[in-house]
Symmetry: C2
Subunit: 219 residues, 2 copies
């Protein structure tokens, strides 16, 4: 075992995530360039496309993990390109609400058949579902640690009923559409998301983290 355990598993995971992320970032840069966008502008645009009502500058900054002046700069660039517009918030004259324009909505959305997507497609369907579940756990952990702002994911939704069909392939249930669904359908930014109360959310989180011991890998 000499030399095999010098690096902690956690460091290796960070390394792997970092490496895949760096490849994704490079790809994003190349894929959005033809549309005249930068990576940050693309991220803002994608966030806004999922929220037609618009978002405040500050909220955008929180979601992207950058400071407010950084967002202001990117938003100004997007405004110049006619893809977003800014308007004063009627509820607070200090605030600015950023919305996508109809032109941006009409754009093809660039369904990027990227290499990263191809790599994901190489995984088995079960492995993809398992990866999604793990990612959602990670993202929720970050939210609980205040590292990133709450997002409209299933685990924090009042319509979410985790693991209520323990033996089924689709163990969870969405009370909004009243239908069961599996890990592969877990959402990261659902338009129908309803904020759950704190106790309910904690219950959801626990039930989601520790389901029945169906798919444990190694004891």
């Amino acid at each position: 075992m000499v030399g095999m355990e010098t690096t902690a598993l956690r460091d290796r995971l960070m390394d792997g995530l970092d490496r895949f992320a760096s490849a994704m970032r490079a790809e994003v840069r190349r894929s959005v360039a033809p549309r005249g966008l930068s990576p940050a502008q693309d991220a803002i645009l994608r966030m806004l496309l999922a929220r037609p009502a618009g978002l405040r500058v500050r909220v955008l900054a929180g979601h992207l993990g950058v400071r407010q002046p950084t967002v202001t700069g990117s938003v100004i660039a997007l405004e110049r390109k006619g893809l977003v517009r800014r308007q004063a918030d009627p509820a607070d004259a200090r605030a600015t609400i950023v919305k996508v324009t109809p032109e941006a909505l009409a754009q093809p959305t660039a369904a990027a058949p990227s290499l990263a997507a191809a790599a994901l497609a190489d995984l088995s369907d079960a492995e993809q579902a398992s990866l999604l579940k793990t990612l959602i756990k990670l993202i929720r952990s970050l939210q609980l640690r205040q590292a990133i702002p709450p997002q409209r994911i299933c685990v924090t939704c009042k319509y979410f009923r985790p693991n209520v069909h323990p033996e089924a392939a689709e163990p969870h249930h969405c009370a909004f559409v009243d239908a069961p669904f599996g890990n592969r359908a877990l959402r990261l930014d659902c338009a129908e998301h309803g904020q759950a109360g704190a106790p309910e959310m904690a219950r959801n989180w626990n039930a989601f983290m520790t389901p029945r011991p169906r798919q444990e890998v190694q004891p």
Copy 2:
């Protein structure tokens, strides 16, 4: 099922990876700033710390997924800070070899107890091992698609014997240290890495991708 399957699983995975990556990137920026480093400089430094013999500018660029002039700029900044030095390659007078200085080696390496690391620690041990395995598959897929250059990972190593102990908790075997090991010990950048031949590598890859159906999640 209304509204639950409008987004493909793959898109959701991309979204989740993107979100976690963005949080990690923001954290890296904050964690390396006190040491007077930028994220790119930190990435170069970490890569070089694992290779005391140094690397060419071009190779660094490939690993980081950026162009050569970008690396030159960051290397110059690192040189100013006394953390790397450049020397001509004896084998090719056009090339520059970048090496870490003894000062950089002596630095504390900043074992960043980051929030991302904490989120990973929230996962069960089995889930962490499974995630590492998935990440390595993804990275190897990118390598096969020429999206990123080959790296010193187990799957491409001539000492790697995947799944030779099918029923054990540590199914793989490293012929270099002559010891069995499990998914949690898989390496992303092993100093003892020996480049395997193409047929051997293909065999490794296949055996690694499709082991015995031990830990499949849902059929």
